[in-house]
Amino acid sequence: MPDFEPKIVAFVCNWCTYAGADLAGTSRTKYAPNVRIVRFPCTGRIDFMLLMKAFENGADGVIISGCHPNDCHYTSGNFHARRRWITFRSLLDFIGFDIDRITFSWVSAAEGRKWAELVDEVTNTIRAKGPFTEISTLDSSKLKQLFYDEITK
């Protein structure tokens, strides 16, 4: 699909990944412009529903990134986040969601290059997969309605 430019939303922690992305910028590293960054104080703050909401609102891919284990600015936020990600990933896979559209990573404040490479990699992967329409078409798809519910709309 030549004209498709994926929309990637990135949920990142302020102290490590956001700083790393900043470093990529100040180093004038060139990388894909498809990412929209949302800043959090810590990955432990990232609610799993935010990922679903991102996809519902048109994201084609999502990146979640934070401090390396043992380096969390708040000591253990990323440990809790990691457990949450393991659980949520399992749930999403079970309901048939394409978990390859979500990428988790640890990117520290010094890893500007890693951030740039990560975004490039994810953008290429998502571009190859194509636009994500499974969630945005949920309510209007012609699924067999158990209820006579807006069949006309």
Binding site: K144, Q145, L146, F147, Y148, D149, E150, I151, T152
Partner: protein, 353 residues
């Protein structure tokens, strides 16, 4: 029996004056009649057996899908005229700053609901009275105008059925456009309205004289006298029995959502400041937040008060507001309740002498 007879016309006030027509439809011709309805371009909603062994109303594509050997569906057919989620309008902000509001009901299709039970079709009378009496609801009006109701009499009933206690019976013609009663190898057909008559194909139906339905109908014991209940319930508000009768209630919305006469709804906006929709969604008086005020005060502080409200609404407040008991004895709430609460058992206990 003081149940008010409502007409099937939309104004809801007045007696049905259409002269009833009596026909015979042979069982062999039922699939043809049904498939003709489909072919005429109408949406046909009928009971379908699902994998979990229960029967639900669904739009179908052929008579093969229709389930005939069951007592009652899990959910009522009210979703045809009162959907679980209904778009009231959509809005879009235009470039010049004005807001465009769109509501297009022209796509609501002509629909036939097949296989309603007499209790269900009677419930539509209540819905019409509720939605159209004082401030006519245009959404309900449009959908109801385009819906024809074909009921089938009940040959079987279970312990949860109690239509005979609320002034109905398994062969009642209240509220429907056509009532079919199975009598061996044919269906005795009572055509109750113009709408029903419009569906009758002279090639499939033959005239007949009046027949007795008695022996083909389920026998349902009367659990209580509706007149006695209506009288005693006037003083039931303070009864100390309510607490015990509501202990099991877990405040879900299952009874209200499956009930053919429950009409409570919530308005929700979904969208952004640029565009979105206003939706009408089902709501239930059993939910804790149903009567929560913005101030934080909740006049119905506990589940006892909420359950009492539900039962009094069915047997007292509907009578005061609209002249009819809104419970039709279909028994869905009893079958669906996770805690197995039983509405007629509760009513009997709070109206004990």
């Amino acid at each position: 029996m003081t149940k008010k007879v409502l007409s099937n016309n939309l104004s809801g006030n007045g007696i049905n004056t259409f002269p009833m027509e009596l026909k015979i439809l042979t069982s062999a011709n039922i699939p043809t009649f049904f498939n003709n309805l489909l072919q005429s371009g109408k949406v046909v909603v009928a009971p379908v057996l699902k994998k979990n062994g229960k029967v639900y109303f669904e739009s179908v594509e052929s008579y093969d899908q229709v389930s005939t050997d069951y007592i009652q569906t899990v959910f009522s057919a009210k979703s045809v005229v009162f959907p679980k989620v209904e778009e009231l309008f959509s809005y879009t902000k235009k470039e010049d700053g004005s807001v465009e509001i769109t509501n297009d009901m022209s796509n609501v299709p002509e629909t036939v609901i097949w296989g309603l039970r007499p209790c269900d079709s009677s419930a539509f009378n209540y819905l019409t009275e509720f939605f159209l009496k004082e401030n006519p609801d245009s959404y309900y009006k449009t959908r109801k105008e385009r819906t024809t109701l074909i009921s089938v009499s009940c040959a079987k009933a279970d312990d949860a059925c109690f239509c005979t206690s609320v002034g109905l019976n398994p062969g009642s013609t209240e509220g429907c456009d056509i009532l079919l009663t199975a009598m061996g190898d044919f269906f005795y057909t009572e055509v109750m309205t113009e709408k029903g008559k419009a569906l009758i194909d002279a090639k499939l139906f033959t005239d007949t004289e009046e027949k007795s339905k008695e022996e083909f109908l389920a026998k349902i014991n009367i659990k209580f006298s509706i007149d006695e209940v209506k009288e005693r319930i006037q003083n039931a508000y303070e009864s100390s029995e309510w607490k015990h009768e509501s202990m099991g209630c877990l405040s879900c919305g299952a009874c209200a959502f499956s009930c053919p006469t429950c009409t409570c709804f919530d308005i929700q906006d979904e969208g952004t400041t640029e565009n979105g929709k206003r939706l009408r969604c089902w709501d239930a008086c059993g939910f804790g937040q149903f009567t929560q005020h913005a101030s934080g005060h909740n006049p119905k502080t506990n589940q006892t008060a909420r359950r009492r409200q539900r039962l009094l609404h069915k047997f007292k407040y509907s009578v005061e507001n609209l002249g009819i008991v809104s419970c039709v004895g279909c028994g869905r709430c009893i079958r669906i309740c996770p805690a197995h609460l039983n509405i007629f058992e509760n009513i009997l206990n709070v109206t004990k002498a």
